[in-house]
């Protein structure tokens, strides 16, 4: 039965050829963006699998507890060195960066904020090798190749990170609770410290941990400052120090499968530490945001 109404309805519901083409393009683009997302995560999977594969045979218990020149070689001194260098770096750049972030968020005039943010942007863009060369030119002639020079170079890189993250999380603290505190007669400095900073503390600490992780992975600035050593160095920042990135870089150029294998093993240790820190910190931030 074909009434005029039915044929009109048919015309309206059936897609025209132009409509079909648009739908086809839409479907095609859906596939293309999906493939792009897959391509974006493919390198991570490939890298992790390959590093594990190469590192596994060399990751024996002694590798964690011995030093390079021991009979059963290990990278204890590099692990210890990396933790010390990154630790001291956040101990120095942390307080300075947090202080600066507090000032920009709580006290600075709009003009100082604009200038400060521009300087932070510029400093965030400074390549790590530039910080390394700076320490090499200024500090190494005075202090020699040393942990101090390395910490200085790393601090230049982590300082703007700390300041930016502190300022950003303080910005999320509601203005009303600052005003409530001030209205109760609490001095400005106590309000800033025990209300604003206290509220934003988890976020500030996240920034500190991410800065630590960033310092842990830096290589180029360490090569021209801490330089690496085979000796174990506990807390003597005035002389050369070993670090995991230095070991990876130097051993990767070395002759012989043993050293190259150790480079892979050290890379796996470094990668696991860096990824664990990031998973823990970011996982926590995501949870607290949804809660």
């Amino acid at each position: 039965m074909s009434t005029p109404v039915a044929s009109i309805a048919k015309l309206l519901t059936q897609p025209t050829s132009g409509e079909r083409a648009r739908q086809r393009i839409n479907g095609g683009m859906r596939v293309i963006v999906g493939v792009s997302a897959f391509l974006a995560i493919l390198p991570l999977i490939a890298l992790i699998l390959f590093v594990i594969l190469k590192a596994a045979p060399y990751l024996v218990p002694t590798f964690f507890f011995n030093n390079p020149l021991d009979k059963e070689p290990g990278v204890l001194n590099a692990i210890v060195g990396s933790l010390q260098l990154s630790g001291l770096t956040v101990l120095i750049s942390g307080p300075i960066g947090i202080a600066g972030g507090v000032y920009l968020s709580e006290f600075a005039s709009p003009r100082v904020v604009a200038t400060g943010e521009t300087v932070i942007d510029v400093m965030l863009g400074v390549p790590s090798i530039v910080a390394g060369v700076f320490a090499y030119l200024i500090l190494v002639p005075v202090l020699g190749f040393s942990g101090w020079a390395a910490v200085a170079a790393l601090s230049i890189l982590t300082l703007p990170i700390m300041m930016r993250s502190t300022q950003e999380v303080l910005r999320l603290v509601p203005q009303a609770i600052r005003e409530a505190s001030l209205a109760l007669g609490v001095p400005v400095w106590k309000t800033a410290l025990f209300v604003s900073v206290r509220t934003a503390l988890p976020g500030i600490l996240t920034g500190v941990i991410l800065a630590f992780s960033r310092a842990l992975g830096e290589t180029a600035p360490l090569l021209m400052t801490a330089r690496g050593t085979n000796a174990e160095n506990w807390l003597d920042f005035s002389t050369t120090m070993n670090a995991m990135p230095i070991v990876i870089y130097q051993y990767s150029n070395a002759a012989g499968d043993l050293l190259i294998g150790q480079a892979w093993a050290t890379a796996l240790i470094l990668m696991v530490i860096a990824l664990t820190i990031n998973v823990l910190v970011r996982g926590r931030t995501v949870n607290s945001r949804t809660a």
């Binding site: 997302a37 991570l44 709009p110 863009g125 390549p127 001030l182 001095p187 290589t219 990135p245």
Partner: protein
């Protein structure tokens, strides 16, 4: 805003003290930046007594010269055009691959992926950024580089190499390292940054704009093409520029795969060097204020390049915040 009110309420000496202490943090950052500029300008100065900045930028000869009978260094010439070429080539290759894939992946994450998939995918992409660059370098030198040589590089060289001089390669004996492979590795390393920034800006396009266009019968892709991409354009450009800055400064991973060869390579599939890799591999041997000056000049050019990019991004993103997108 916040600061003004707090300041008016202040005035006590403890408050002033606290403000000074925190202000010192900002001051230190200013001092460090000033120190960087002064040090690089100062240390590079001796170089300009024997050659002009033009020679530095245009010559491809890097020679520490010889010492004549009187103990003077003669015939020293520090030309960085080979390194500058490598820096520009590797970072452009990186952006060429990372920009389209990163932006499309961000579109997938925001517009297509169901929330259950989008959250873990975003997380995984962010993890790539947490991997130290020396690990990327080790992986590339041990595995990725050879795969690229036998696939993409071989395909480009055999398709276009015959008529495009910069893309030629001898298929029988490809070089052990190449500029192209370093650039491709950089693409992987900057990808998370492109995805993260693009995702933020795509997300900030107001939902009402999308709904209006969908109400007119547009397909999902048409919404993306006609509404989201044009609205987020400035932010996307900013994100790509930021990633470009990262690629320009990346050192150790590039040093491990580019081959560290002097001069301007005859093809992208030949070994080369970048400004950063040149500093890393040469600074240990540099002695005397002129050779050190050449290193400082390389550092200064890196610093200037990345600073210009940071400032341009800042201006772009500011304009984005003013003109819309973020509603």
């Amino acid at each position: 805003m916040a600061g003004m009110e707090l300041r008016r309420a202040g005035g006590m000496s403890a408050d002033t003290l606290f403000r000074r202490i925190t202000g010192t943090g900002v001051l230190i950052l200013f001092v460090v930046l000033t120190g960087l500029v002064v040090a690089f300008v100062g240390y590079s100065n001796p170089l300009w007594t024997i050659q002009s900045p033009i020679d530095f930028l245009t010559s491809s000869t890097w020679s520490t010269g010889t010492i004549d009978e009187s103990g003077q260094i003669v015939d020293a010439l520090y030309g960085a055009s080979g390194a500058l070429f490598g820096t520009v080539a590797t970072s452009l290759i990186a952006v060429l691959f990372a920009a389209p894939i990163g932006i499309l992946a961000a579109i997938f994450l925001v517009e297509f992926a169901p929330p259950r998939l989008a959250a873990p995918l975003t997380f995984i992409v962010e993890l790539i950024a947490a991997i130290p660059s020396v690990v990327f370098g080790l992986w590339a030198a041990g595995d990725l580089s050879n795969r690229l040589r036998d696939t993409i590089e071989w395909w480009i060289a055999s398709s276009f190499g015959r008529f495009l001089p910069f893309l030629s390669e001898d298929p029988e004996s490809p070089a052990a390292d190449s500029v192209f492979r370093a650039g491709f590795l950089l693409a992987i390393m900057i990808l998370p940054m492109v995805v993260a920034v693009s995702r933020e800006f795509i997300r900030s396009v107001p939902i009402s704009l999308r709904e209006g266009y969908i109400g007119m019968g547009a397909t999902k892709w048409e919404v993306i093409r006609d509404v989201i991409l044009p609205t987020a354009r400035i932010g996307l450009i900013g994100g790509v520029l930021l990633a470009l800055g990262r690629a320009i400064g990346e050192t150790i991973a590039v040093t491990m795969v580019i081959g560290n060869a002097e001069g301007v390579p005859s093809s992208l599939f030949q070994p080369g060097q970048t400004v950063a890799s040149k500093i890393a591999s040469n600074i240990g041997e540099a002695s005397g204020e002129i050779a050190i000056g050449a290193m400082a000049a390389l550092g200064l050019s890196l610093f200037l390049l990345t600073t210009v990019i940071s400032l341009v991004v800042r201006v772009l993103v500011r304009r984005f915040a003013v003109t819309g997108g973020r509603a």
